[in-house]
Homo-oligomer: 501 residues x 2
């Protein structure tokens, strides 16, 4: 127990230092004056080095080993056992990467990103190709250093979705893809089309903020322990106990972007707020399970709640009070159609709910093939465009709208993409279970009551921190492992109604 | 040279880590959600411990010793020699305080501040007395631990004004006090009185921000490497190279507060921006000389520039464009009188230019006597009120308006107050010299040209970092040591004109 206590004390100290980087990063994306950028990079580097040094200190390894041999891990579902399990996992990963490899990756991705910006601007894949080759090579070396069972991709995926494997998800993903391609075809052939112009009128930015904050507050986002700011690339950051921040961007001629963006980030925020950080901050029990589970929370609030008809039955009249001109005379069904409009398009971050996962699945397939060696980096544009044609039914006009669009590969984030689709899958599974437990959930939404769902999520998911791995949590909560059917059923029902098929 | 280089490398690393505390503090005073306060204290504590540990490591002492015996200190005015001189000074001070004393002071002042808040609210000196006794006792112990020549107050003053001593300032302060008491009497007896109501009309807060930022920009405050925000207790913080932030508060019914507050903080900001941090950040050459010199920069811009007639000859028409109603038909002379109105009052932070230093001198006299033991903490209210009557000619109605008004003593900041008056003295001396070097300075101000003064300050003061101690810098720049005459002459001329004596 002494070793465990000492270990936890050390981890809390390290996490407190690490949390200063969250503020530095938040400030960098919000208020930092532009000329502060170079020094900010130094500050972030100093904290990151310090935290890495402290956490990879052999003393931490010794304390983990000692705790592993003690009674504290007796009950594998106890907070103590979960903490030790995940600390062991994190410590082994952190100590397995040779310093030279880490430095090589940092240097390469820093330069790669600069050329990627140019390559995307000029749609010049050749400029980016040598960097993609290096990143793939270094990613393989990283996977080798970590070690893995099955294929190398597993080692990378584990960085973002601990414990997940290709074997576990590939079958689900493939079935989902086939269903989505069919759904998209039905939507294209549909007799009804929503009128999107409703949400593309003038929407005053300050009123958007007021409306967005009032929706976030209705969701249970606590503005005494959180805040909303403006940034270029929206995100959510949990700084520590009592401090969770969400960020969005506003488009004065589109209601959707900030509104669903705020609901999305507030969904992440509720997860951060729902973890018992007062008790567990600095330990795995005080952290989210995985990027996939985190995304399940944001997507549930954004889509299952925010793009549902019951929700707007209550909130459309509210919105009309603020956006009097633009929403004058707009009917619920028409508004509901407008916010759920489906249009296949090139850019992932602008994709609608029905096509979003196709963007992800395409990337996952290419990444996996790059890692096994079945796909050469030079062949990425051709393969991308072929698959895009197959899944979306449209031709990619230029690589800037294809394989050059995302920052991830130039940043070395191979293995990250699948967590978006995992999030969507889990969100549908969790939401079905929540409806089963609260059969009147739709009626609650119609009255503007969102707090019972928030509490259900807190009890079933948030409060557990990393007690369970993602798929175990899914089984624990829903009784079933990862599955594509709930998401597909939800989409077919929703888009069937809107598009009339 | 190797020892010197290694020392500088270490110091830069430590300073980079320390600078994260500046962001944490800035965020705490601006955007942090209220429930983040407890964790913020932990973050600040962690950084502060880490920085103290790293800087007091015996290896740092060894490197300083080695560098002291090397050729790098040959030329005592070289950047290297200045760095070693000041690092030695800081290292010795940091290592001289026993950990138990530091912890005792931290604990005592934390509790003292809580009771001080209550004591001030209820004007209950008895509640505060035991804390004042403890703080004085601990301050003496601190002085003893540091060691000192002359009286113990010297050791404390040195924390804020390195190298300054009571002997050096007490005579100047006493003469200044006598002159100010005479000046105040003349003002009271004066035939003319300004009409302050001009600046106490409606001043839209957003327009105040726009006007304040445009004045700061005209001063040379660079908004690409700085910003202005709102807070409760205004301050300026230099985060690091390319990042200097100022803060103010707005009163919608008073123009003066934010306007001169912004000029004051922008004056501090120009100093931070004028130091060559790209080259010297993390070393004494990359830091300001002392609190007194820092205050000389803020007060010069606030008073000698901002409360001057030439300045307003240009800026009053600008202000009238923004505050059309409130400044309609206002004449330059009347406006000039209104912003320079003198009214003796109880509260230091609300004091005008003529009485401000009397507030400080009173505190300095009491602090010094508390440290020598000539004054007992229990006798502070009586002594305060007697002197207040003598200097200001008014009776203190309650201790909340007297000896309980400032946070400093409960925070353990004994020795800090004199730096305010040192700043005012230095500002008058520097400004006289600037006028000597640029005889057309008034005409420049009348054309809205403030950048030559800024450049003069950068060249003569800012760029030197800690190359010279405060009084040496004063001699270097003006040819004379600290003196009360320039400030008194400036005030007599200015208030003589306004009040007609």
């Amino acid at each position: 127990m002494a070793a465990y206590d000492e270990l936890i004390k050390q981890c809390k100290e390290i996490a407190t230092l690490a949390s200063t980087a969250s503020i530095l990063h938040w400030d960098q994306q919000t208020y930092m004056p532009p000329q502060g950028a170079a020094f900010r990079a130094e500050q972030l580097g100093a904290i990151s080095n310090l935290v890495h040094q402290r956490f990879t200190d052999p003393k931490i390894g010794d304390l983990i080993s000692e705790a592993e041999q003690s009674d504290v891990v007796k009950d594998p579902e106890s907070p103590e056992a979960a903490n030790i399990r995940e600390l062991r996992h994190a410590y082994d990963k952190a100590t397995k990467l040779p310093t030279e490899l880490v430095e090589e990756i940092t240097k390469t991705t820093s330069l790669a990103q600069q050329d990627w910006v140019k390559a995307r601007a000029n749609s010049d894949f050749k400029l980016f190709l040598p960097w993609l080759e290096k990143v793939v090579k270094l990613s393989k070396e990283k996977a080798d250093a970590y070690g893995y069972e099955g294929e190398p991709y597993n080692a990378l995926l584990d960085d973002y979705e601990p414990g997940a494997t290709v074997d576990e998800i590939v079958d689900v993903f493939e079935k989902l893809r086939n269903e989505l391609v069919t759904l998209l075809q039905k939507i294209k052939d549909a007799p009804k089309k929503p009128d999107v112009s409703i949400v593309e009128r003038e929407y005053d930015v300050e009123l958007q903020r007021i409306f967005g904050e009032s929706v976030a507050a209705a969701m249970g986002f606590d503005f005494t322990s959180g805040r909303l700011d403006v940034t270029t690339h929206p995100f959510c950051t949990g700084i520590g106990p009592g401090d969770t921040r969400i960020l969005t961007r506003y488009n004065p001629n589109r209601l959707n972007d900030a509104l669903f963006g705020i609901m999305h980030e507030a969904g992440h925020g509720l997860y951060e707020m729902g973890i018992d950080k007062k008790k567990y901050f600095g330990t795995p029990m005080g952290e989210s399970v995985s990027l996939g589970i985190h995304e399940s929370q944001s997507r549930m609030w954004e889509n299952q709640v925010g793009r549902s008809k019951p929700f707007w039955k209550y909130f459309l009249p509210q919105a009309k009070r603020l956006f009097r001109k633009s929403l004058e005379g707009v009917e619920l069904d028409d508004f509901y159609g407008a916010i759920n409009n489906v249009t296949p398009s090139y850019i992932r971050v602008e994709a609608d709910e029905a096509t979003y996962n196709l963007h992800i699945l395409l990337r996952f397939e290419l990444e996996r093939a790059l890692l096994t060696g079945d796909l050469k980096p030079a062949d990425v544009p051709g393969e991308w465009n072929d698959r895009f044609q197959k899944y979306f039914g449209i031709e990619v006009d230029k690589d800037a709208n294809g394989c050059l669009q995302d920052v991830h590969w130039s940043s070395g984030l191979i293995g990250y993409f699948p967590t978006y689709t995992l999030g969507n899958l889990y969100s549908a599974q969790f939401f079905n279970k929540a409806k089963e437990d609260m059969p009147d959930l739709d009626e609650q939404f119609e009255r503007g009551e969102l707090l019972n769902l928030r509490e259900w999520l807190r009890v079933n998911i948030h409060q557990h921190g990393q007690r369970y791995r993602a798929n175990d949590l899914c089984k624990k909560v829903t009784g079933k492992p990862l599955d594509y059917k709930p998401l597909v059923a939800y989409m077919n029902a929703k888009f069937g109604e809107i598009y009339g098929f």
